[in-house]
Symmetry: C2
Subunit: 256 residues, 2 copies
């Protein structure tokens, strides 16, 4: 049977996360229900399982099915899944392709609306946070995360799975009252991005120091980190495969 | 009793419009319920009643109440009304101020996502429309609306109320796959902006001609217009009072 690669976007607000669960609405549940009409039962594989409330603009899914008319399936799925999920692309790929195991890089963005008054048009996709944040300090602190490290201090433990990951870049910047982090890595362990954000915010308010990021990383102790920032600020923005390089935002040069 | 002016923003998606109605969630209903805790029963007046699903970034409301601590009331209302409504400003104003009758100008924006695949992050605030639109033709057609005219062809009749309005500017432009209209007038009659959009789209696809805008305007006949575009693309973006000039977007020079 041919293998297909779907690239999808979703607003995570109305879902209990990506992964299928009984009795609640999930992205995978909705997607497989819609696919069922074209393919019968299908097992889909996802590049990055996102938690409840987390968004994606470029999530990748793979599955095997009988020959499909890509354009027709895309149109049909989009009419069933609108407005919260969109099928951006569908492609027939090499039989060895596996959305999760073939992925060699993932990139996320986390956005904070740093303002006293929330904005109804930003609250679905940003964390509204009032105390003034020093994005320059947050950016400086985060640089110690680049490279290969054991991220145990920033990850929810899942059995004995290793928590060594290789971060390619992590940068914070401010643009008016939006403070955002862009991070790329070979992979992320559970809640890693949101835990880095929570500690960064402590540093950004001055309650902790720039050097505390390194100290927490070295400790390997999740208990001394600062929990996880809220999910709605987080968006999966890219997944790369094989030799493809993970697309960096234009504001982050290759050398940084 | 002092008079107060509130400037608020709201995402209209979850509301049955601005105006209070029994049994359904409305912006006015939520706002007055929250105000009640500070002022007791209060009658609020609004600059522009918006329909079900329509948004606002700068809606103005006035009311009279005993002396209030503005900052404290703003913070309290915001914590009750988040995330869908935000109180942007609260000010004590001259006793003669009336949000509706004192208003001398209103501006709206209408946004169309002109693409084959919807975007989950744009669907709440734009109309997703697939056929390619010619924004240059739409812009040319709309220019006949500038000035004082009877807009009966574009308005839902409400009793014998006159439908003469003075449009200060109306412009369409394209920016990547977003096609947007900005319009400013002394006031609008019911469904006027969305009716202009619906006819503009007919012109943008080539199903109607540039000259048809003038023809429909002159006819005064709503039956030959093209109904109203969906509400989620529409946002009230400014209200002006007295001699204040209505703020134009930077891309629309005063002379146009």
């Amino acid at each position: 049977m041919p293998t297909y690669r779907l690239t999808i976007a979703y607003d995570g607000s109305g879902f209990f996360g990506y992964a299928k669960q009984p009795q609640v609405r999930t992205v995978q549940g909705d997607l497989e229900a819609a696919l069922f009409l074209h393919t019968g039962t299908v097992d889909t594989v996802v590049a990055g399982r996102t938690d409840k409330g987390v968004h994606a603009t470029e999530q990748v899914i793979s599955f095997r099915a009988e020959e499909l008319d890509g354009q027709r399936v895309q149109r049909s799925l989009n009419s069933m899944l609108a407005p919260n999920i969109a099928i951006r692309r569908i492609a027939r790929v090499d039989g060895g392709f596996h959305a999760r195991f073939s992925a060699t890089g993932r990139a996320y963005v986390y956005r904070i609306h740093n303002a006293a008054v929330h904005d109804p048009f930003l609250t679905p996709v940003m964390w509204t946070y009032e105390p003034q944040l020093d994005a320059v300090a947050m950016d400086a602190a985060a640089q110690c995360l680049v490279g290969e490290h054991d991220f145990a201090a920033f990850c929810r433990k899942r059995g004995d799975a290793p928590m060594v990951r290789r971060v390619e870049w992590v940068r914070w910047r401010r643009s008016a009252d939006v403070v955002e982090m862009s991070i790329g890595a070979n992979a992320f362990c559970h809640q890693m991005v949101r835990s880095v954000v929570a500690l960064s915010v402590e540093i950004g308010t001055g309650r902790m120091e720039v050097a505390d990021m390194q100290r927490v990383l070295d400790s390997g102790d999740r208990a001394i980190a600062k929990g996880a920032a809220p999910p709605q600020g987080l968006t999966l923005v890219a997944v790369s495969y094989g030799d493809e390089s993970l697309p960096r935002p234009l504001w982050i040069p290759e050398t940084s």
